[in-house]
Structures are given as structure tokens and as C-alpha cells.
């Protein structure tokens, strides 16, 4: 299941709801991404005070559904949940959640990592960071994310 929403979500409640009552599940892996209050470099101590995630309504849902289908095709999964927020968020807030449930530990771990790697490189979201000087900066894509995603093609 996928959800694209502006509202926050309760990580614990989502995980608890997903596992409930299915005794074929042997393991549930989850990953939640949060807004970090990080300083850019040692020299530039500016911290992120908030960020806004822009997205492409319609294409976002389509891509998340495709990514879920690929994961289900590739691993024996009992259940999959992807939630991705858009809009303005402050440090400590949830951005994204993936949860995968499988009979097997390795399938749960691998598919959750796959989902995150693909979200990072395929889902049409763009981060605009506001620093504590009030400036807004569009975040550049990271080559490391492309590398992480490309390993699943091997």
C-alpha cells in the first residue's frame, strides 16, 4: 500500500497495524527518514531550520505503486507499506516510511533497502531547505543515491 500525504504519520502505529494477525510473517523491517537539523560543513555551521518537499501529484503515486510492484515481484513479501509526505517539515519530523513484512528476515531487509534506494532516485520529490538565516536552497541530488539504487540492477 502506498500513501502520499501532507500530514504527519505515527511510525509505531503504522508498523503495529501492518503486522497484526498474519502468522505467516516471520520478520518486519521498517525504515523511517526524518528531517535532520544538520550543519552543512565544519566551516559552514548553518543549520537547517525547516524544509519543504515539492512533488508531482499523479506521477508520485504512479512511481510509488511501480516501486512497490517491483519489490513484491522480486521478494516473497506478505505486506508492503510506503508513506511519503510533502509540504513543509521541521527537524525531527518524519518524511518517509517503508515497512516490509516477509516470512524471511533477508527478504524483509533487502526489500526495505531497495524501496528506499528507489524512492531516493525515482520518486518525483524535491527538497527545498530553509537555513537558520532564512535562505531557501534546492538540495542537489547525490551521486551516492544513484550508486545505491544501481546496485539492485546487478
Amino acid at each position: 500500500m502506498i500513501r502520499v500525504q501532507a500530514e504527519n504519520f505515527d511510525v509505531g502505529a503504522e508498523i503495529n497495524a501492518l503486522s497484526h494477525g498474519n502468522t505467516a510473517i516471520g520478520g518486519i523491517c521498517s525504515f523511517v527518514g526524518l528531517v535532520r537539523d544538520f550543519q552543512h560543513t565544519k566551516e559552514d555551521e548553518t543549520r537547517v531550520s525547516a524544509m519543504t518537499l515539492e512533488h508531482y501529484p499523479g506521477m508520485t503515486e504512479k512511481k510509488l505503486e511501480e516501486i512497490e510492484a517491483i519489490a513484491r515481484d522480486r521478494w516473497p513479501l506478505e505486506d508492503v507499506l510506503i508513506i511519503h509526505r510533502y509540504g513543509r517539515m521541521e527537524p525531527g519530523e518524519n518524511i518517509v516510511l517503508v515497512v516490509t513484512a516477509s516470512a524471511h528476515r533477508k527478504a524483509a531487509f533487502e526489500s526495505a533497502e531497495f524501496l528506499m534506494d528507489f524512492l531516493k532516485t525515482k520518486a518525483p520529490f524535491w527538497k527545498l531547505e530553509e537555513d537558520d538565516n532564512g535562505a531557501g536552497n534546492w538540495v542537489d541530488a547525490r551521486e551516492a543515491d544513484e550508486d545505491a539504487a544501481s546496485k539492485w540492477n546487478r
Binding site: 518537499l53 508531482y56 506521477m59 504512479k62 532516485t121 520518486a123 518525483p124 520529490f125 524535491w126 541530488a141
Partner: protein, 83 residues
């Protein structure tokens, strides 16, 4: 054709969405980008050869040589940074 702009392409061009009619000689993604670039000003600035951009046609990623028509939804945006 409906053109959508996202992230810094949207803020540079100053427009979220616009409707254009394709000239007859514009038949693929690369030609749409050249056509927009030929409008000069902020278009030239946003779509310059030095810029890294992605195109989605009807909400799927496409390459430069994908064919286009006036009924398509054509989105231009930077590499994604969600997750």
C-alpha cells in the same frame, strides 16, 4: 501540450504549468526542449546545456528521442531529492 515545471525549474522560469502548441517540426523530447530554449530569457537560463534536468512524459521518465504529441503531459524537473 501541457508543460509542467518543478523545483528550481519552476522558480527560475516563474511558472508552474503552461499550455503550448507544438510546431510541426517538433516531434520528440529533445526538440521540445530546444523549442522552449529558443524562447530565450529565463527559458534559456533554466534549460541551458550546463543544467542537469529530467523529463517525464505522461508521468514516466523518458529519453531525449521519445516521440511527443500535443495531447501529452510534459514535465521538466531536476534529479529527484526525496526519500
Amino acid at each position: 501540450m501541457k508543460i509542467l515545471y518543478f523545483a528550481w525549474l519552476r522558480t527560475t522560469i516563474g511558472c508552474t504549468e503552461e499550455e503550448i502548441t507544438l510546431p510541426d517540426n517538433v516531434t520528440c523530447v529533445k526538440e521540445v526542449l530546444n523549442h522552449l530554449r529558443s524562447k530565450g530569457g529565463v527559458y534559456e537560463q533554466a534549460l541551458g546545456e550546463d543544467k542537469v534536468i529530467r523529463v517525464a512524459l505522461n508521468q514516466d521518465y523518458v529519453q531525449d528521442d521519445a516521440p511527443v504529441s500535443n495531447n501529452d503531459e510534459f514535465a521538466i524537473f531536476p534529479p529527484v531529492t526525496g526519500g
